[in-house]
Symmetry: C2
Subunit: 404 residues, 2 copies
């Protein structure tokens, strides 16, 4: 395998890693106030030859340091695609993913050279409710892998919602992503039709040091309270450890397409924006604190007796005190066409991974849908839910614990 730890360290990474002492002296150049650059800059940064390990107890693409580009592909199984066909499909797509993520062409791949630089490509599979029905395994579907309850803020569009099979493809390079997408779509064609493709982007580890919180298109830091991969809280929050045994080591994904009303957001000044979120825009500190990761003081009031962090501020409504009950948010921005009058079609591909949608996602979403100042400028227009099976070994395939 190319994806040994040695190979994952790129040339550039090795060089940077070997010169950590120089970083401190240069960190003062960092232009973003929210960017304490010293520590993260010492991490190796991958070049195009870097590969993420495909095999393991969990699928890659969840705990993986988020790549710059993503495409979420929603497929519908063709009528008559039964259990045996789904097994063939998953064996085929697993083989594609195993090869492509390691920088090797897929079988019968004619553009073999496009596979050579995977740029941390990951390919992650998820099963929607319809797949369980098709393979006659509805009894093995976790109850919350189902259409979400409707929230009053939703304006869901059918063509951005649902889907039997998810393929989430992420990479630090657009060409690697496009090639992988094309291979997967081609090999799935006999079994499934394309329901939607949703493309997104975020700052890559090349643009800002790994581990720094990302900004979304509204300019907000997004993901401050994420559980940290590798911590016990992360494992408990993200990986399934109870319920149907086939899903242990897996997770569940809620994918929401959230349109941002950037035109009206423009009419809000900075203090209005900070009031809505409950954090300062520049460094992401809670309005009661001094640094991004300070604990918000929800009890503090201003001289007039009103809470400093509003009852309706996003961080108060989204608050989950127990870290092991938080969801992992791994969102991507989207920015599609601009209409003649300059109105953009922009927003967030909100992607949250959690062990249990019913216990972790839905209560938070209920609170947000009820009252969250940000609802004024955000509209959910797509929604889909998938079980993300555990990973597999070098001779296995994704889905074998359910279908094998």
């Amino acid at each position: 395998m190319r994806s040994t730890p040695e190979h994952r360290l790129s040339r550039r990474g090795l060089l940077a890693g070997g010169a950590v002492t120089a970083v401190g002296a240069l960190a003062a150049c960092a232009p973003d106030r929210a960017a304490p650059a010293a520590a993260p800059a010492a991490r190796p940064v991958a070049d195009g030859s870097a590969a993420e390990e495909f095999h393991g107890p969990h699928q890659a693409g969840v705990a993986t340091l988020p790549q710059a580009h993503a495409v979420f592909l929603g497929l519908d199984l063709r009528p008559g695609t039964d259990r045996e066909a789904v097994v063939r499909l998953m064996r085929l797509l697993t083989d594609d993913a195993r090869r492509l993520t390691a920088g090797r062409p897929a079988l019968a791949d004619l553009e073999t050279e496009l596979a050579a630089l995977p740029a941390r490509l990951t390919v992650t599979f998820g099963f929607g409710p319809g797949l369980f029905t098709a393979v006659k395994a509805d009894d093995l579907r976790p109850g919350s892998v189902a259409v979400l309850p409707s929230f009053k803020i939703d304006k869901l569009e059918e063509h951005w919602s649902g889907g039997d099979l998810l393929v989430q493809i992420c990479a630090d390079d657009g060409l690697a992503l496009a090639h992988a997408l094309r291979v997967i779509v081609k090999d799935a064609r006999a079994f499934a039709t394309v329901r939607w493709t949703q493309r997104g982007f975020r700052r890559s580890p090349h643009t800002q040091p790994a581990g720094m919180t990302q900004r979304n298109l509204m300019g907000q830091l997004d993901g401050t309270v994420n559980p940290r991969p590798g911590s016990p809280e992360f494992d408990k929050a993200v990986w399934v450890s109870e319920g149907p045994s086939w899903l242990r080591g897996g997770t569940t994904l809620v994918l929401r397409r959230i349109r941002m009303e950037l035109e009206t957001w423009d009419a809000v000044d900075r203090s209005g924006r900070e009031f809505s979120v409950g954090r300062r825009l520049d460094d992401g500190a809670p309005l009661t604190g001094r640094a991004e990761h300070d604990e918000p003081d929800f009890g503090r009031t201003d001289p007039s007796g009103l809470p400093v962090i509003s009852e309706f501020a996003h961080i108060r409504r989204a608050r989950v005190p127990d870290p092991s009950m938080r969801m992992l948010r791994r969102p991507y921005n989207y920015d599609e066409g601009v209409n003649a009058e300059g109105k953009s079609d922009s927003g967030l591909l909100f992607a949250s991974y959690q062990a249990d949608i019913a216990r972790q996602y839905i209560p938070v979403q209920r609170k947000l849908a009820e009252l969250d100042l940000l609802n004024e400028w955000t509209t959910p227009i797509g929604s889909a839910v998938f079980a993300i099976p555990p990973g597999c070994g070098p001779t296995g395939w994704i889905g074998e614990t359910l279908l094998g």
Copy 2:
């Protein structure tokens, strides 16, 4: 200015540059046969804080090492937008570009933090035929900055063609690009409507070493015979040095949206693909040579007396023997939606910059349109032409040589 040479060298770049001796030992890891990694890897690679100089005799975004992302924005001036209004518009947009490319927010920019990491952002302006009419300067329009003659391979779509004003925005980061686009569109809104936005991507200098030829979505190396920035041939080929004096130091852009018929391309085997292009797919060597940059031997015949490089092969048809008559190609891939049956909307944003469209672009395009085996799998669906004015100084604005 932040864009001094010192600042352009990133932390990571400085580290890599200081450790050149380590590169040779590691170069053997390079997975792509066409990638002799040793020399280019020693070049500094920019992180998100890197800025491209906005000021100078030429606009940035032409000779600039191509960034990973691009959006080409085509604007139509609103009826009644006269010379005075165009001057106001160009002053305004120049100010935006000057600030954003240096990592500073635009005036009245509410998402100031999104400007902080420009990631080599460039903003390049171009004037289409309609702008000259609007400012009553048709006599100063170079003759070939006009609708191109129609080629028999064209299937042009109006909504991908034409435009009075081009804004080409490129960056190594999607968020920097999206923010700059939004600022520009917003500030242009009173003067112009959006005719089209065309988004593209290519491998960034992080994915493969700078200076290596790019592959397109058909898997071909694309741009082997480009003139080399900094060479006398480049200056002669790209920058205008005769004709209307206002355009000296500028150039002209032909932007063609070329759809790739990837479905039928899939039916062609590798030898068929190599025959069509006249180069080997793996390393880009001409079929008569051993390495990418070897001169093709168009006279060589095979034992049966047929030319080794076909009369209809792309490299023969596109051949321009005089380097100073070549155009600079700076193309981007596009990959939009996938339909239900898995057919992708993919292709190339062909962007060529040349001193003289009539002498450099049109003769080559005529030869290609007549007979080029690649025409079978490529269809021009959009076409636009712009004069790219020269650059400006710190107190100047783009277009001042025409409108000032």
